[in-house]
């Protein structure tokens, strides 16, 4: 499907729009060719490929809306999905808040931004060789190696009866690994992860060495009492926090409904923090159009610690009077718009020197299983994982058992002692990508610790 030429995409969208008798109609085509090679216990154990494409049709007839989707893309399938959407709209109650499709705004974008042919053509052998390189790095240090190497092409094409007609194709290569010295209590572990539109941007051997070195240093982890500590958060940890801030706070709908910590015009974080969402930036994983066909705007969400904007789709943008910023998700969307291409501005510090200013603190490689505890205060909880160390007198003194944290992120980001010049790009756990520096924070609240052995 992903090999479909532009004419094929247009033919599908044209047929859907022509079939509809509604006042406004939108056709969204999402096609994916995704492959993933997964390894664990030092061998490839899952190796999969998926070819799929889905046509989603939204009709707006007066104030009545209907949405239907299918992955059957022959003529009967296209006609059938349009008819289903029309039938749903006919039987629906009015929904004036959302009865709006966007119009073209004349802005340009690159339909192939972030498309790299070699990534699209990556073979199972290529992924297998990379897996073998990562495994070799772990075996050299007697570790159990697991991970995955995914390559994919995503094509998004949108047309609506108000004149929007856009399409984009982009590629993604993502390799992550977790290395452990066993699966028992107190096992040491290390981690490395990288994402890029270009397969060539993934250095499997380097990632293998990074994770293996980290796991090796984690051997013999001991407990440290939970409490508030100065922390160094590696880019992986920062990106994880940013992703969840995005889920709960940067949406125009969450802001409109009073559920967000973002109070526009007010200081919500330290002045070192500037957060931007930019779906066109080549330093991310570009997706310059949204799922309503609007070209994404660069939105500065937090400027020097002050909440400056939230992102919008067509419906929330119309209600806010700003118009869409190009952050709509596929209809029907009760979640609201989402900032999924976040960039946190880097600082001035050299990454390798940041630890020197920490007299006593905790080094966190990444967080695991983050979830909101209180969205409006942006209090999150989660565990440290794959590399937690005590810092004493400016150096890593010993490895630590994992902590649980319960912490308001804006509060933690209000005391940034340093941010690294260098940044890393991490694909989101579910969607999008997040580019973050390493941070030195003045305080972070660890509320629990996992004991080495636990029985009833």
């Amino acid at each position: 499907m992903v090999g479909r030429e532009r004419d094929d995409l247009d033919a599908i969208l044209d047929r859907a729009l022509a079939r509809s008798s509604a006042g406004q109609t939108e056709a969204l085509l999402m096609a994916q060719d995704a492959s993933l090679t997964r390894f664990a216990t030092n061998q490839i154990h899952q190796n999969v490929r998926e070819h799929d494409a889905t046509l989603q049709v939204r009709v707006v007839d007066g104030e009545r809306i209907g949405v239907a989707g299918t992955n059957r893309l022959d003529e009967a399938g296209i006609d059938g999905v349009v008819d289903r959407a029309l039938e749903i709209a006919r039987r629906s109650a009015p929904n004036p808040r959302n009865a709006v499709l966007p119009e073209p705004d004349g802005r340009e974008y690159d339909p192939d931004a972030g498309y790299v042919a070699t990534t699209a053509a990556a073979s199972a052998d290529r992924r297998g060789e990379a897996a073998r390189a990562v495994i070799a790095a772990g075996e050299a240090k007697d570790l159990q190696v697991s991970g995955s190497f995914a390559t994919s092409v995503l094509t998004v094409a949108v047309a609506n009866s108000r004149g929007i007609r856009v399409r984009h194709r982009g590629t993604k290569a993502a390799l992550l690994t977790v290395m452990m010295d066993g699966f028992g209590s107190g096992a040491a572990s290390g981690y490395a992860h990288a994402g890029s539109a270009d397969l060539a941007g993934i250095d499997a051997e380097a990632l293998g060495r990074e994770a293996a070195d980290k796991a090796d240093r984690m051997r013999g982890a001991g407990e440290l009492e939970a409490g508030e500590y100065e922390v160094i958060l590696e880019e992986y940890a920062v990106a994880g926090l940013l992703e969840y801030l995005s889920f709960i706070g940067f949406s125009g709908l969450a802001h409109e409904e009073g559920r967000s910590f973002m109070e526009l015009g007010k200081r919500v974080m330290g002045e070192e923090v500037t957060l931007v969402d930019d779906g066109s930036d080549p330093d991310g994983l570009p997706l310059p159009i949204d799922f309503e066909g609007v070209v994404r705007r660069r939105v500065e969400l937090v400027t020097a610690g002050v909440a400056t904007a939230v992102v919008h789709d067509a419906a929330t943008g119309a209600r806010a009077g700003t118009g869409s910023t190009g952050h709509g998700l596929p209809a029907p969307n009760t979640f609201g718009p989402m900032a999924s291409h976040l960039f946190m501005a880097p600082g001035q510090a050299a990454r390798d020197e940041m630890i020197r200013d920490v007299k006593r603190g905790v080094w966190v490689t990444r967080f695991h299983y983050i979830n909101p505890v209180h969205p409006k205060k942006a209090i999150l909880t989660g565990m440290t994982k794959d590399g937690t160390f005590l810092i004493e007198d400016g150096r890593l003194s010993r490895p630590l058992m994992n902590f649980r944290f319960t912490q308001s992120v804006p509060e933690a980001f209000s005391d940034i002692r340093a941010a690294s010049r260098e940044t890393k790009l991490l694909p989101g756990e579910f969607f999008g990508a997040y580019r973050a520096p390493m941070l030195h924070l003045g305080s972070f609240n660890f509320t629990g610790v996992t004991a080495a052995e636990a029985t009833a």
């Binding site: 061998q43 070819h51 949405v67 989707g69 052998d125 995955s148 977790v178 299983y369």
Partner: protein, 482 residues
């Protein structure tokens, strides 16, 4: 379809596969949401396709396609073989499956009222009535009600001769009220959060929820929570309602008994498990009161089916027996490694996914503590928490923290002060070891959980958890700085 399946299997075997299976699947869903008196969203989706899984030279390969055509089946069969050959690049031990006999059978979810035959008007009417009931309460900022229906038709066939056809039907719904002020956002759901209740079965289950009748009390509690004091911090005796016990089972028993996690094959994403196989039969997981079963045959459970996606029949097996670890959730590949045959818990979400070990219905057997009110009356000083709003657990499933929508302090056997943002935290076996009372069968509910995620690419899982309210002694509550 027969031609498609046979050509896929033939192509795989001709390519050198020692084993192959094909799953042709169509998933149809309908969902609707009413928000603040308007029909916010209605959608209907259908996705169909097939996936082929092969073993070549002892290594797995899988490919899939949405084009349900015999020629495409041959191409995808060959592609799966090529992918398996790439897996051999990093192979240590060859894959071996158990000796489950190939089944030939059909299964259909029993139901009274097909959820897809109920008119949109009728569904909207129920949700609008519930919305109106919530709207009668001043101070509610957001009112939401939702319903969802699902129908999955699938045919599984293997090179060993299995042929299983199934139709799984699901229905569910719920409501939620949100109240906000300058510093707080408080929510209350009925009958549960994250979409309410969901079952395998018909629309009769949604009607039985009687959503309009619960609109007002749901909204009133959301508003009351805004001005409630913060949950205190400290160690307290904790009573959980059955919805929260269900999620506690899910996170701290269901996931760690998945044998693929135990063997480390999910280590890079979901994590591993503290329930390593050396503990089978010897680990005290909880108190004597704690017995937990994996029951894929439970009527109405969201994890109920006829056969899993390896063609293994649905079963009811114990995982925890009087507090001791006695079993795991297994697949045909993992079960032989502990000397057993698969108990049938390998399931895939879509046609494009491989089956992974997924929970079925992981059920805590009811106890003898009577009703919830009996249990509260039996508690001198403690806290009662109800309906989840936050969850997190570490990669080995030991260190957990949950937050609930509402808490009530218990004083001298009576429900006293309402408190907001209640949270509790603990270590899995210590927590279940502190369980000293479980309510009886009348309080036991089989809850559906439709948002379980696992695997790479991430797959959704629909699972069930039977639970009654239970009491845990000396639990750390009120976590964090507020």
């Amino acid at each position: 379809m027969k031609d498609l399946i046979e050509r896929a299997l033939d192509a795989a075997e001709r390519g050198g596969a020692s084993y192959a299976d094909v799953r042709v699947q169509e998933r149809e869903t309908e969902s609707l949401t009413v928000k603040n008196g308007a029909l916010e969203a209605v959608s209907s989706n259908v996705s169909a396709g097939f996936g082929i899984r092969v073993i070549v030279d002892g290594a797995w390969g899988f490919s899939s396609s949405a084009r349900l055509e015999p020629e495409e089946a041959e191409r995808i069969g060959r592609e799966a073989v090529e992918i398996a050959r790439a897996s051999v690049l990093a192979r240590r031990a060859p894959v071996e499956l158990d000796d489950t006999p190939p089944a030939t059978d059909t299964y259909r979810t029993p139901y009274e009222e097909d959820p897809f035959s109920v008119s949109l008007d009728e569904k909207v009417r129920i949700l609008m009535e519930a919305d109106a009931a919530m709207a009668r309460v001043p101070g509610v900022a957001i009112r939401e009600g939702s319903m969802s229906s699902g129908r999955e038709r699938k045919t599984f066939a293997s090179s060993s001769g299995a042929w299983v056809e199934q139709e799984i039907v699901e229905a569910g719904g719920g409501i939620e009220a949100t109240a906000v002020n300058e510093t707080e956002m408080q929510q209350r759901s009925y009958p549960n959060s994250f979409g309410g209740q969901m079952v395998t079965g018909g629309f009769e289950a949604v009607r039985a929820l009687d959503l309009p009748d619960h609109g007002q009390e749901t909204a009133e509690l959301a508003v009351a929570l805004l001005d409630a004091p913060q949950c205190p911090s400290g160690e307290m005796d904790l009573i959980l309602d059955s919805t929260q016990v269900a999620l506690q089972i899910h996170e701290s028993c269901g996931h760690p008994t998945e044998l693929d996690r135990v063997f480390g094959t999910e280590a890079s994403f979901a994590g591993t498990s503290f329930l390593t196989t050396d503990k089978l039969g010897t680990l005290r997981y909880g108190s004597d009161l704690v017995s937990i079963d994996a029951d894929a045959t439970a009527p109405g459970g969201l994890g109920t089916f006829g056969y899993d996606d390896e063609g293994v029949p649905a079963q009811n097996v114990p995982l925890i027996e009087r507090g001791m670890l006695v079993g795991y959730l297994t697949s045909r590949e993992t079960a032989p490694r502990i000397g057993r045959r698969s108990m049938g818990s390998a399931r895939a979400w879509m046609w494009s996914n491989i089956p992974l070990i997924r929970m079925t219905n992981i059920n805590l057997r009811p106890g003898e503590a009577g009703s919830l009110e009996d249990l509260i009356a039996d508690t001198r000083d403690g806290i009662f928490m109800s309906i989840n709003k936050s969850w997190s657990i570490d990669d080995r499933r030991l260190n957990f923290q949950f937050g609930d929508q509402a808490g009530w302090l218990i004083k001298n056997g009576k429900r006293a002060q309402l408190v907001k943002n209640p949270t509790y935290t603990g270590i899995t076996p210590q927590f279940w070891g502190s369980c000293d009372a479980i309510c009886g069968p009348d309080e036991w509910t089989l809850w559906g959980l439709p948002n379980c995620g696992k695997g790479e690419p991430v797959q959704t899982g629909h699972v069930g958890h039977g639970a009654a309210p239970a009491r845990f002694r000396g639990v750390k509550v009120g976590v964090g700085r507020w």
